[in-house]
Amino acid sequence: MVVAVSTSWVVDMAFAVFGMAAVLTGYRVFRTDSMVRASFWLLASFVNVGLILVLLNARFLGFSVVLMMAGEMSVMAIFMVMLMMNPAGLNPMTMVHQHRTSLAAGLLAFLALASVGVLVDFPDDPARVEPATVTAELGAEELGDSMLVFQTAGATLLATMIGSIAVTSRRGRYGDAEQGSVPPPLRPEADPADGEGAA
């Protein structure tokens, strides 16, 4: 029986590199001043996680993450440039607020989860599957025992598609979506329509 995850030092080194890169690029997402760069840093983080998945022998999932995220981050970059006040990050700016609180919350979350990961004694039962059969097993599972889960995921995606089209559609039940819309005021108590919004 082959132990699925190789224990050679090459894999360890690769994991160390990909793991650190995933976290670092993830952090860069929120420290860069350009919207487009932020989405590509996030993509880099996803690609590194995808590569770790490949090391863990979940190759299909790993490649799928890259495939999916390349598309999703493209959409995200378009949205960034389209809706943000700093198109394409041509001008330098900062987007951070409540920096300390967030940093503390992030650290807390990391420490709590990491201690769970390190301290809890998970059963030591490594996967023993040939690399080539992993995906075949996943396919059999999707269309066998877990078919209900798989179908639910599909139905959820369909519902999402219909829902998001309904939400973004310009024509609603009560007329055009932007009917009566006004720019938001800068002061919370101000009337949106009194022109202070533009101040």
């Binding site: 987007m95 919350a105 998970f122 039962d125 490594p126 995606l157």
Partner: protein, 101 residues
């Protein structure tokens, strides 16, 4: 590479995601934070599948479900954001404090 190290990396990704989701003002940036959290969850799930379930295909199934969640989150996030933008001309959270419209 052991289960512990994989879980620590996953925890770090979640931590960075929490930091991002709380510290950013722009909707898209907050979505990026959430995506990072889900990303960490995916890594932890697959790590557990590889090291402590004996390679049961159900573990990978969890990964597929997490990918679905990611897609749903992104699609609905963009949809809601587009609509808020259309109606309120707002793209950062502080502009939507009065959600009454």
């Amino acid at each position: 590479m052991t289960l512990e190290t994989v879980l620590v990396v996953a925890a770090a990704l979640v931590g960075v995601g929490v930091y991002g989701a709380l510290s950013q003002q722009s909707f898209v940036m907050i979505m990026m934070g959430i995506e990072l959290i889900i990303n960490g969850a995916l890594l932890a799930g697959v790590g557990l599948w590889a090291y402590s379930t004996g390679g049961s295909p159900k573990g990978q199934m969890l990964g597929v479900v997490i990918l679905t969640v990611m897609a749903v989150e992104a699609a609905l996030g963009f949809a809601v954001m587009t609509n808020i933008y259309r109606v309120r001309k707002a793209d950062i959270t502080e502009k939507t404090k009065r959600l009454r419209g």
